[in-house]
């Protein structure tokens, strides 16, 4: 009886963990075939057309899930990308069943409204349709773009930064829980890292990568002066605000 109860409990836990699992890309290599051709369906915008659309215009794109940030009350927030650029999908209508079907690479069609929230360009209130196709974007090395206007051209893309040095966030700490260290474990992590004498801020977004993920634990173990490589999504909030999904201490 005890074994049965334990087995059922473990099964229940497994269901929960699977449903809530994070899906940040494990690596940066594309898994699309060499001859991969991203043919857009009828009525679907190219990335350039999407960028050219006005805020509040209705937009339809076909894109590929790169990571899932959150699902809540039938709304999903996703990091997506095609071969030409990225699309941040915010609060799109999505059933829990469909959300579970979304894995890194899944092709989706999204119809929603282009929005801008404190500098972040996104598709709001979209409707998602799952389609056939798979593509995982390789990480773009954006180290040399840090601090330049060109970084904006890659907003929301999967990017990497290499050769960074962890800086003192304050009081000798390598990271903060919340932007001002007002949080506790489980909240967003903030850390500063420098390259070529300039310091930039990075975030581990706790909805995307919670305290049980490798990246969260890795950042909690960082020390001032550590040399790191990292990768993540180039989210925007009043400037670049990369959501880091992987940190490698060198």
């Amino acid at each position: 009886m005890k074994k049965l109860t334990a087995a059922m409990t473990i099964a229940a836990l497994t269901v929960c963990l699977a449903a809530c699992g994070k899906t940040a890309p494990a690596g940066g290599s594309a898994n699309a075939p060499a001859s991969f051709e991203d043919v857009k369906g009828e009525g679907v915008m190219t990335h350039a057309e999407y960028l050219a659309a006005d805020v509040d215009d209705e937009v339809t794109v076909e894109t590929y899930v790169q990571a899932k940030q959150s699902w809540w009350e039938d709304k999903a927030t996703l990091y997506t990308q095609d071969q030409d650029g990225a699309y941040f999908i915010y609060d799109a209508a999505c059933s829990e069943d469909d959300y579970a079907k979304l894995t890194p690479g899944t092709k989706i069609r999204v119809t929603g409204f282009k929005a801008e929230w404190n500098g972040e360009i996104e598709i709001a209130e979209g409707k998602i349709t799952i389609e056939d196709g798979n593509y995982i974007a390789p990480a773009l090395d954006a180290t040399s773009l840090l601090g330049t206007d060109k970084l904006l051209d890659h907003q929301n893309e999967f990017v990497s930064f290499s050769g960074l040095t962890i800086e003192d966030k304050g009081n000798g700490q390598a990271f903060f829980y919340n932007w001002d260290n007002s949080g506790t474990q489980g909240d967003d992590l903030y850390f500063d890292a420098s390259v070529d004498g300039k310091t930039y801020s990075f975030t581990v977004e706790s909805y995307l990568c919670d305290q049980n993920t490798d990246v969260y634990k890795a950042v909690e173990n960082l020390k001032v002066g550590d040399k790191i490589d990292c990768e993540g999504f180039l989210y925007w909030y009043e400037g670049a605000n990369p959501h880091i999904t992987k940190v490698t201490v060198k």
Binding site: D74, N118, E238
Partner: protein, 534 residues
């Protein structure tokens, strides 16, 4: 920066919630009604949990930690475990989930609207009337070891806000209101002079004129930039609620009758729609934090809580935008726009303290003592100084340290930041002009619905959809459905079951998992019995 409207990743939470759910499935669901015990015993240890909300503000969390240390020095046998939140909605959801498993905290920071929902679980929340009046353990009672306020020293309006169904179910902790933070420099550049009292007509007129300065080159002459949203409102639920109050229009009754969907509401939405069409207005949910636009010279009227004052203005101590985007201007702080300048009305808001009932009444008294400590002058003054909050006791307000704080506005751009002190003075001066909406099970949903009417209208206009009578009829219908608003949502201070509580989806899922587990166990037992019979 994370958007603070309700959403969450569920991985860690699911596991945290599932474990107590499984562990406590044999336990009683609710405590019985609270009965006042003799008190706490000095030879016994008590452990209580405190779920506290802060504004993502390190100073505030430091004050909570300090308060706990100081309280434990008075009562070494009471240990307080702190859990920090930055979102009222998340506290609400976690409390609802933990009511099911009888694992609520002992004390939490919350809103009366939320307490009304907690109360639908009989005996869940400790009634505080008897505790407050107890001559020994009550407010300022003989066995209270610290200098606690008396009941009379709590500002009556604020204490009244914590009465639900005729019983005291909370203590006010901090109070604030909303303020309109104005770029006076740009208003005057547009040829206007700020009046003594800001009216809706004035705000719309200036906003429209600013929007009209958009040139063919895409640059607004008003600010010389490509971005200008003259009027941005942070909390559109408050925007609607305050307008209706000012218009003496219906919203709801104390009994939970839903009156929001009326002609006055429609008139206000039509006015908003007109100005959105002019490019004069947007909201936090649609465009972003008002403070960011205000500080970049891209907004003239930014309405936000007085508890957000430290983010407002050219010299704000807290800033989220790049320093090179900051614009130098004079900030004026006003009450929210009014319909009748002679009779200003504004919302009273701010956190309250809720004490949960427990099977052990001594534990409730220990919790009550800690709740009471949060009203002591030291805590009240320290916390109020972190933002545009005001203390909820006359003793703290009259304390010389607090009077000194108020008298030093503008001495520096940190503790004595002028805009923050102006916001604080605004709340102090208008205490009698504030109001709250009726609290009942469902009042929180009604509030959300009020905001949604504005958000939907603004989005529809921006998206060039037709906004006419048919649109509003459909909006009424959709909003009622979305927020599950019948004409009456009768409440529940004395409700007897939890069946009306809209459980979070995650909780519903977890309860289904639990049911499936037990169903599996029962099936297996039946099979084993049948096999044994053979």
């Amino acid at each position: 920066m994370k958007r603070l409207h309700l959403r969450r990743g569920a991985a860690a939470l699911a596991c945290l919630l599932l474990l107590p759910l499984l562990a406590s499935c044999h336990g009683s669901r609710m405590s019985d009604s609270f009965t006042m015990p003799e008190g706490i015993r000095p030879d016994r240890n008590y452990e209580i949990t405190f779920w506290a909300k802060n504004d993502t503000n390190k100073t505030q969390t430091d004050i909570y930690h300090q308060a706990i240390r100081d309280f434990e020095a008075y009562y070494p046998n009471i240990h307080v475990n702190l859990r920090l939140y930055t979102d009222y909605g998340k506290i609400y959801n976690d409390v609802i989930t933990n009511i099911q498993t009888n694992t609520t905290p002992n004390v939490c920071i919350t809103y009366p609207d939320h307490i009304a929902t907690y109360l639908t679980g009989a005996g869940t929340v400790a009634p505080l009337g008897e505790l407050a009046d107890d001559p020994v353990w009550g407010l300022g009672g003989s066995e209270v070891k610290f200098d606690a306020p008396t009941k009379e020293e709590i500002i009556p309006e604020y204490l009244g806000e914590c009465m639900i169904g005729g019983e005291l179910y909370a203590l006010p902790y901090m109070r604030s209101s909303e303020a309109c933070y104005v770029n006076r420099t740009m208003v005057e550049k547009l040829g206007f002079t700020l009046p003594d009292v800001l009216t809706w007509d004035f705000v719309w007129e200036v906003s429209d004129k600013a929007a009209q300065t958009l040139g063919s080159d895409g640059v607004y002459a008003a600010n010389g930039q490509r971005v200008l949203i003259p009027f941005i409102y942070k909390s559109t639920d408050n925007m609607m609620i305050q307008y209706l109050k000012q218009a003496d229009a219906p919203y709801s009754t104390d009994a939970g009758d839903i009156l929001l969907f009326n002609d006055d509401t429609k008139v206000f939405l039509q006015e908003i729609a007109t100005h959105v069409g002019n490019g004069a207005f947007s909201t936090f949910k649609i465009s972003g934090y008002p403070a960011n636009f205000l500080n970049a010279g891209q907004c003239i009227f930014a309405v936000d809580s007085t508890a957000g004052a430290t983010w407002m203005g050219s010299d704000a101590p807290l800033v989220d935008i790049s320093p090179d985007n900051l614009v130098d201007f004079e900030t004026a702080v006003y009450p929210v726009p009014q319909l009748d300048p002679a009779h200003p009305r504004m919302i009273s808001q701010g956190p309250s303290i809720c004490v949960f009932n427990k099977a052990d009444p001594e534990e409730v008294v220990a919790s009550w003592l800690f709740a009471q400590y949060l009203l002591s002058d030291d805590v009240q003054i320290a916390y109020a100084e972190t933002e545009g909050y005001v203390p909820v006791t006359s003793s703290a307000r009259e304390n010389s340290a607090y009077r000194d704080y108020l008298s030093r506005a503008g001495e520096d751009n940190k503790v004595h930041y002028a805009v923050k002190l102006a916001a604080t003075e605004l709340v102090l001066a208008h205490t009698s002009d504030t109001f709250v909406t009726p609290v009942f099970n469902g009042s929180s949903s009604l509030r959300d619905a009020a905001g949604n009417l504005i958000e939907s209208t603004v989005k529809s206009v921006r998206r060039r959809q037709t906004v006419d009578d048919a649109y509003y009829a459909k909006l009424w219908q959709d909003t009622r459905s979305l927020y599950r608003l019948d004409d009456t949502l009768h409440a529940g201070a004395d409700g007897s079951d939890l069946s009306d509580i809209p459980l979070p989806g995650l909780s519903r899922g977890l309860l289904l998992v639990l049911a499936a587990i037990w169903a599996g166990i029962l099936v297996r037992l039946v099979i084993m019995r049948l096999q044994a019979g053979k």
